[in-house]
Amino acid sequence: MIEEKFDVIVVGAGMAGNAAALTLAQRGLKVLQLERGEYSGSKNVQGAILYADMLEKLIPDFREDAPLERHLVEQRFWMMDGRSHTGLHYRSDDFNEEKPNRYTIIRAQFDKWFSQKVREAGATVLCETTVTELAQDAYGKVIGVRTDRVDGEIHADVVVLAEGVNGLLGTRAHLRERPKPDKVALAVKEMHFLPRETIEARFNLKGDEGVVIEAAGTISRGMTGMGFIYANKECISLGIGCLVSDFQRTGETPYGLLDRFKRHPSVAPLIEGSEVKEYAAHLIPEGGFKAIPQLYGEGWVVVGDAAQLNNAIHREGSNLAMTSGRIAAEAIFQVKSRKDPMTAENLSLYKTMLDQSFVIKDLKKYKDMPALMHTQSQNFFLTYPELVSKAMQNFLRVDGTPKVDKEKTTFKSFIKARSWSGLFGDAFRLARAWR
């Protein structure tokens, strides 16, 4: 056993773990952070978009040296069917501001930088160390962790579980259940490299401007899922994800889905001639507010993806991870400052503080959306995208049909596919869940 005792052990060096370790170290606590990868970032997978506001709260001047790709000036939402997409695009020169709001990043590079900040703040960061289980006393209080190193038990007053979506340690210690197949999505992603000028020409960008495309529709073949295309400086992150339970139900393969997405006529020209340099897969928490497990206990708190903190509607996760990590650290610091023990009662401060933040408020707002999207996946991801595509084409194609007749055709197609009550029901359910 390592004799040295720490104030806090942080398990994991992703967004949540780094935010927690940094905040704790900045406040003078003795922090040990454990990471199983060869460096922070080498096991971490994300699209990825960085939300500046949440990082500014941790590192105000991050723009000076963080490895950022492109600041986003444009967002495109695509509703896709087999050969078409109907788009809602928003682009604004307002996003070309001194301190941009969102950036694309490459996680392996960004996390390495983030981890350096954690070290500079005074935390001990130990990589290439897999935590195998939590160390608990006879009463079940978490007193530290066990690792795969020789003499691998290490003690601390409190353990911050930032172990990622799988939450293995928490499950092993019976603090929470294993994620269920209908509460997590499996996403696969490729990194497509192209010359910078080619990317800028294809996406209508200049300088470090960036664009994000979020796509849904028949590309997920009736499953609840989304595709994404993010422009980085010299590469494009392209991926698609669907609920694990949907893969289970349909027998679709993740790589088959990815390749069909890549071959879609709206997508193929964007990546034509690219060199693929990586293929990654990752789970994404999709259960929303109702899937949030117990967030604290005797000697422990859980943050980020391990706490299933992900806003599936807005595609936000890393900012919820960063914020929950920071808030957990602030709560721990407060308990420590009062010289109080790290009991569940005292650590409940973390939940109280998190409840008051946008993290829980946003998830609560959309608490009924996951169930709606998951049970109505055929309608929202197949039927409607096809109807909309046909309607748009009918609207645009000039063939001598009087407009009145065209409108009738479109109108009838909606009624035929979903019926009056179906259409009103879908609209009502969507409005209620969105409220």
Binding site: E38, S42, A108, T130, N166, Q248
Partner: protein, 98 residues
């Protein structure tokens, strides 16, 4: 079945870097004679196609190309079909981009 070019996952995995922990598979399939529906699901659901049928109709795993997503754990661990852990520290997939 639609006619589409078959996707070679092996080619995709070739882009990635790995440090293989020889002789220490981090995922193990419980010995069986007939595979459970959960195990059979993995033949298609595993994004790295680590799960394959052997000639006796049993599901086998080869973890060398595993990208450590956890999909098989979510599907198969509950039924006891597999034992799932992360690789030892430093081993497994080494993402350059992530």
């Amino acid at each position: 079945m639609s006619i589409e070019p078959s996707v070679r996952v092996e080619d995709k995995l070739f882009y990635n870097r790995y440090l293989v922990d020889t002789g220490r598979a981090h995922i193990k399939v419980r010995p069986h004679t007939t595979p459970s529906p959960e195990l059979l699901t993995m033949l298609k659901a595993c994004p790295a196609r680590c799960y394959e049928l052997n000639d006796k109709g049993q599901v086998e795993i080869s973890v060398d190309g595993c990208i450590e997503c956890g999909t098989c754990r979510v599907i198969c661990e509950g039924s006891g079909d597999i034992e799932w852990s992360y690789p030892r520290g430093g081993y497994g997939v080494l993402f350059k981009f992530g």
